[in-house]
């Protein structure tokens, strides 16, 4: 028999609801958003839940404003999040770059829908993989997490908050219409079992020497004060020196941009989350992410029943791209088939990581419906 407490933690809920509940559990206390499907439920639920926890919700006048508002609230000391879909994600790009350069912790949820433009509201797609990496201008790192179930929507939301705080960087939770609107049974973790990260804070009280952008190493994370704590510091979207004031010095510029990249790249093993199945004796490997994993797993199982040796790689982190997974694949792997609801955005990354050691094929469908297990199975059979 389950205890009452455990029963309370088991719920049949929607992906977007899991995201909203995870935001609360993960410590988010400020959300700004703008209505857009298929992400709207996240805002609706948080408009109710946040004030119950003493947090704040605001529906801003547009997507850009909601992105600006979360960055302001983050600088005032709160853990923050916004959620959007397709066109709204495009509008947020400039300020995602601001968050990246100014190292402001924040989580941006993009529930993907069919595009480009207004596209297919609200049918599933995975067309924003490259935009989530390169959508904002300039040379910048990115952390992008991608859930394939309601449970993962919960876990990866908490993980996104933790990465954003501990690394002082924007983190994108790249979901899709299917996972967002899916209902599944989820057992929430006990609050005490959740590991939460907080941004690094200045060691002492305000003094002469606070440098908001000085790290202790080339891949370090600087300590961030709150506005209102007496540190009197400056934040600017211009390239800045360690003290936060504009500089055009080539050496200082180089150091800043390199550190932003190293901050992420030096922690690949910690950031790149993935799961594998049946890789030991596989000659064909399916690689997938998000809702498409559900069809991929089904196809792998059916192929196994037919005596084919097929393994599965499920990526939960899309960016930084985990080259090391593909570098370590056994020599007997002849083909990797990347299944995604787009025309091959991540397939080309796998191709790059393969360095010619195995063949890369794709199941690429962009029609507003899920890829079926049959379509993947056919590709597996053709690969032999």
């Amino acid at each position: 028999m389950l205890s009452t407490a455990t029963k309370d933690r088991i719920r049949f809920i929607q992906g977007n609801e899991a995201c909203a509940e995870a935001a609360i559990a993960g410590g988010v206390r400020f959300f700004a958003g703008y209505p857009i499907t298929p992400s709207s439920e996240i805002a609706e639920i948080l408009s109710k839940r946040l004030p119950q926890e003493g947090g704040k919700f605001i529906q801003m006048e547009d997507e850009i404003a909601s992105m600006g508002a979360i960055l302001g609230a983050s600088l005032a000391g709160l853990k923050v999040m916004t959620a959007t879909s397709g066109p709204g994600f495009s509008l947020k790009q400039e300020l995602i770059g601001f968050a990246s350069l100014c190292e402001i912790p924040c989580v941006i949820v993009n529930v993907q829908r069919g595009g480009p433009s207004t596209g297919l509201p609200t049918s599933p797609a995975q067309g924003d993989v490259m935009q989530s990496r390169w959508g904002t201008h300039g040379d910048h790192p990115a952390i992008v997490l991608c859930p394939s179930s309601v449970k993962e929507m919960y876990e990866l939301t908490v993980q996104a908050i933790n990465f954003s705080e501990s690394l002082r960087t924007p983190v994108i939770l790249l979901s899709d219409e299917i996972v967002a609107h899916l209902y599944e049974k989820v057992e929430f973790p006990e609050a005490a079992d959740l590991k939460l990260s907080d941004r690094p804070r200045p060691k002492g009280p305000p003094g002469e020497k606070y440098l908001p952008f000085a790290a202790d190493s080339l891949s370090g994370v600087p300590r961030i004060a709150n506005f209102g704590d007496g540190f009197h510091f400056n934040v600017t979207g211009l390239i800045h020196d360690l003290d936060g004031f504009p500089t055009t010095d080539p050496g200082k510029t180089e150091n800043l941009i390199r550190r932003l990249h190293e901050k992420v790249n030096s922690r690949l093993k910690e950031i790149c989350l993935f799961e594998t199945e049946n890789l030991e004796d596989a000659t064909t490997v399916i690689c997938s992410y998000g809702a498409t994993v559900r069809s991929a797993r089904h196809a792998v199982r059916e192929a196994g029943q037919k005596g084919l040796k097929v393994g599965l790689i499920k990526l939960k982190t899309l960016w930084p791209f985990p080259d090391f997974i593909f570098e370590k694949l056994e020599k007997k792997v002849k083909t990797v088939i990347v299944c995604e609801m787009n025309m091959g955005q991540l397939m080309r990354e796998v191709e790059r990581a393969s360095r010619g050691r195995f063949k890369v094929a794709g199941v690429n469908i962009s029609r507003g419906t899920m890829i079926t297990p049959q379509e993947i199975l056919e590709k597996i059979e053709r690969a032999g």
Binding site: P51, E61, A69, L71, G72, A73, G228, T236, G237, L238
Partner: protein
Amino acid sequence: MKELAEVKEHLRLEKFPHIWCAGCGHGIVLQAFLRAVLDLGLDKNKLVVVSGIGCSSRAVGYIDFDTLHTAHGRAIPFATGIKIANPSLTTLILTGDGDIAAIGGNHLIHAARRNIDLTVVVFNNFNYGMTGGQYSPLTCEESFTSTDPYGHIESPFDICSVVRAAGATYVARSTTYHALQLPRLIADGITHHGFSLIEVITGCPTYYGKFNEMANPVKMLEWQRDHAVNLKQYQILSEEERKGKFAIGLIYSDQAPEYTDEYTKLIQKAKGTARNSSE
């Protein structure tokens, strides 16, 4: 009125020289802003100054508070987030006519509508100085800018009327010529509980002045002197007499529920709901 030496204490002098051109009016506005802050005796640790992009927005880099230089047009959204996250912070915005009325115009009217307790000081020099003097939504009809070689054909916003109509509860206008009136109007705007905006007409001899036969700072100040009229006088002028003139002083002031106060009440209501539903 505070001594200049006291004002200087709140400048980040080590960041000088500033980027503004010789004869630019922005230093006069910044001085008035600092005098207002000092006259009010505000806790400097609880003061955040936010700006967008443009010549005027660079002001925040020169003043010794918590300062945030955001993206073009976005000072108000960032400031809104700061104010809601921590309502005890006095949150002030320094911005220009292009930044606040064009690319940031939507945010401006909605912040006014919410009557959130922010104070916006608009450095209005009628053009985009940083990019070479192009026209803005506040550029006067028939004047010349680097994108108006044939004269400006659009009518400008009266930004004071725009924010008043949108719901702002404190609206004032002055000029850099009226340097003694300015600190008081800004101070009253900061003290005012609700959304306040102070438009300051300031000179850009490098571009707007050059294109409009006012290529030196004195001529720009004289233009301000000759075209500004105190509100009371302005109100008794005929339509014909008002042409080319603008009113200065406190344009409008009223009391209305303030956003963060209302949200605090909402939190109490939400907590009550949560308690009831768990019982």
